[in-house]
């Protein structure tokens, strides 16, 4: 080894102040790659060991993804183990939570979880939260807002616990499995990718350890600290269905057909357009009607974004959609397409919808079709609280795509049973009316007055255009005027717009 006098090098403090001069290399490996994979790797024997090694302490923030939807075992499994180890006062930051996470109620009551951040909440946990379960209000963020909060450090993740249907011993993780046909499968790991990248420690929890390298991967080994193998990460039936059901509801079909007609007349249906279809019967069915128009007019789409379903994949495979950008796969057809189709690209939540990064795909959308629980006469949309004031929904990418797309179309039946959809004031504003352009119901279409040019085009095409006030009046005539929801003063949820400013609050419900 040469003896180098660093002091003689001009500007050395600016070149390498901390590293000094070369002192030698670590021990070189001699075993074969195969031998090494069995011994020197990131696999730890138990979840308990992974939690211990991660350095998780009281007051830290843990994160999870929701790609396993209502089949997820990971959140409950990890929190149960953390509770056993006596760690408390944690912030649980999940990309979303749903019915299956009801066991968290116990861990909130016993002080293991004291703060929650999520896109949405459903089932028993949501009901309990609405009744005042937690002292600290739940922070609801959109998928893009969450990504931005992670990137800015507003949401700092200490340990990410990310379930993955396959992972190699070094942490390259995927939402599918190339070795086994019947293995657990969720497709894109879009929300998990960003958590893995930014968390201080990242634990992959898998039921299938495969040989290195598990490529093409969703999460790279460079972001992963530990890998734990468990018997089961989720219930395949709850994670996704074989194919997203194509609605047979005539009301939804009518709405979908009208929405497709709106798109065709709007000026945004041209050769090379871009689109996103939200989840929900009517918005998914819109793709089907759009497909017919595309074939008829010999028009193809440059890309489809978002939560991807079999219907979008079908259009991709028959050459109608050039490329798919997939942050979340909604069914097995979509998951298999991600595995097999070269131009079905997995993207993370930031690339999908963050407002803070240097470019997000939502900003390149021509149009998006979204669902709604309620829409008010200012075009504000609620997808979060039910007509009884109880939390039962998720923001998802609603405000992100509505803001990014040139044309945002919200589809909803005028009434659901006796519940009105078009109201004077929505219970909870999730997406502000200023980014909502067209409302399509089974009984007419309303255009935001801010878009008079769209209104003209739709009228010229003979679409049933009316005003939002006329839709509301029709709604009231059919169902009557509901009694106002009774709330207490206490705030149980804070709803963030995609720029992480507070757009609304959710109060504890008053059931007396």
């Amino acid at each position: 080894m040469k003896n180098i006098d660093l002091k003689k090098i001009p500007h050395i403090s600016e070149i390498t102040a901390q590293h000094g001069s070369f002192t030698g290399t670590p021990v070189k490996p001699k075993e074969t790659f195969l031998e090494r994979m069995g011994s020197k790797n990131k696999v730890v024997p138990s979840l308990e060991e992974a939690i211990r090694l991660s350095g998780l302490r009281d007051g830290m923030t843990i994160s999870f993804h929701h790609h396993f939807r209502n089949g997820d075992y990971v959140v409950n499994m990890v929190v149960e183990q953390i509770a056993k180890m006596g760690i408390k006062n944690l912030t649980l930051a999940a990309s979303s939570l749903t019915d299956i996470h009801a066991p968290l109620i116990e861990h909130i009551k016993n002080g293991v979880i004291t703060h929650i951040e999520t896109s949405g909440l459903r089932g028993k946990l949501a009901e309990e939260v609405s009744r005042g379960l937690m002292d600290f209000p739940i922070v609801f963020r959109s998928h893009g807002g969450r990504a931005a909060a992670i990137e800015s450090g507003e949401l700092h993740i200490d340990v990410a616990f990310l379930g993955a249907p396959s992972c190699d011993p070094y942490g390259n993780a995927n939402g599918y499995n190339r070795d086994e046909e019947n293995a657990t499968c969720c497709g894109s790991l879009g929300y998990a990718k960003l958590d893995a990248l930014h968390a201080d420690k990242c634990v992959i929890i898998t039921d299938h350890i495969v040989r290195f390298p598990n490529t093409p991967y969703g999460i790279p080994e460079s972001n992963v600290d530990y890998v734990v193998k468990v018997d089961s990460i989720g219930d395949p039936k709850g994670i996704m269905s074989g194919a997203t059901r194509f609605t047979k509801n005539p009301k939804e079909l009518l709405i979908a057909k009208t929405a497709a007609d709106v798109i065709e007349a709007s000026g945004y249906f041209y050769d090379g357009f871009s689109m996103q279809m939200g989840s929900g019967g009517a918005s998914l069915a819109t793709a089907r009607y759009l497909r017919e128009k595309m074939i008829e007019k010999n028009i193809h789409a440059r890309f489809a974004l978002g939560g991807i379903t079999g219907q979008i994949v079908e259009m991709h495979e028959e050459g109608l959609v050039d490329k798919i950008l997939d942050v979340q796969s909604f069914d097995l057809i979509a998951a298999n397409s991600l595995k097999n189709n070269r131009f079905h690209q997995q993207i993370d939540a930031s690339v999908y919808a963050s407002y803070l990064n240097r470019g997000a795909a939502v900003n390149e959308l021509d149009f998006v079709v979204l669902s709604a629980l309620e829409i008010d006469t200012d075009f504000n949309v609620n997808v979060m609280t039910g007509s009884d004031g109880v939390i039962r929904g998720a923001i998802g990418g609603h405000p992100d795509t509505a803001a990014g797309a040139s044309l945002s179309i919200v589809v909803a039946p005028l009434t659901r049973g006796r519940i009105p959809t078009i109201v004077d004031k929505v219970n909870t504003i999730v997406t502000p009316g200023s980014v909502v352009d067209v409302v399509v119901t089974d009984q007419g279409v309303a255009v935001n007055p801010a878009r008079p040019e769209i209104k003209e085009l739709l009228e010229a095409a003979g679409l049933p255009v009316t005003t939002i006030e006329a839709l509301r009046d029709r709604c009231t005539r059919i169902v009557g005027k509901p009694e106002p929801i009774k709330y207490k003063d206490r705030i149980v949820g804070v709803v963030m717009y995609r720029d992480n400013t507070v757009i609304d609050v959710i109060h504890e419900i008053d059931e007396e």
Partner: protein, 98 residues
Amino acid sequence: MQIVTKGVAGTMESSDIIVRIEPAEQKGIELTLTSAVMQQFGKQIEKVIRETLAELGVESAIVNAVDKGALDCTVAARVKAAAYRAAQCEDYTWRTKQ
């Protein structure tokens, strides 16, 4: 209208209401209502049930209604059908819209 036996009308389907009417010993309408939209429309549904029974001249009955979000017209129709059945009356007065 005199309630003499048990009469039922309606289903448990969404947007319907099932109404059971039975004879009561005491005078008055003893109403039990459960509804999927109790908070929002409970008072309105009760009002329609009571008004419909009054219209039919039913003065004493035990009424049990399970609502799944029915509109007022449905509520009234189910109450009438259940009342006619409970009164074993087939003398329907059909009304046509003018």
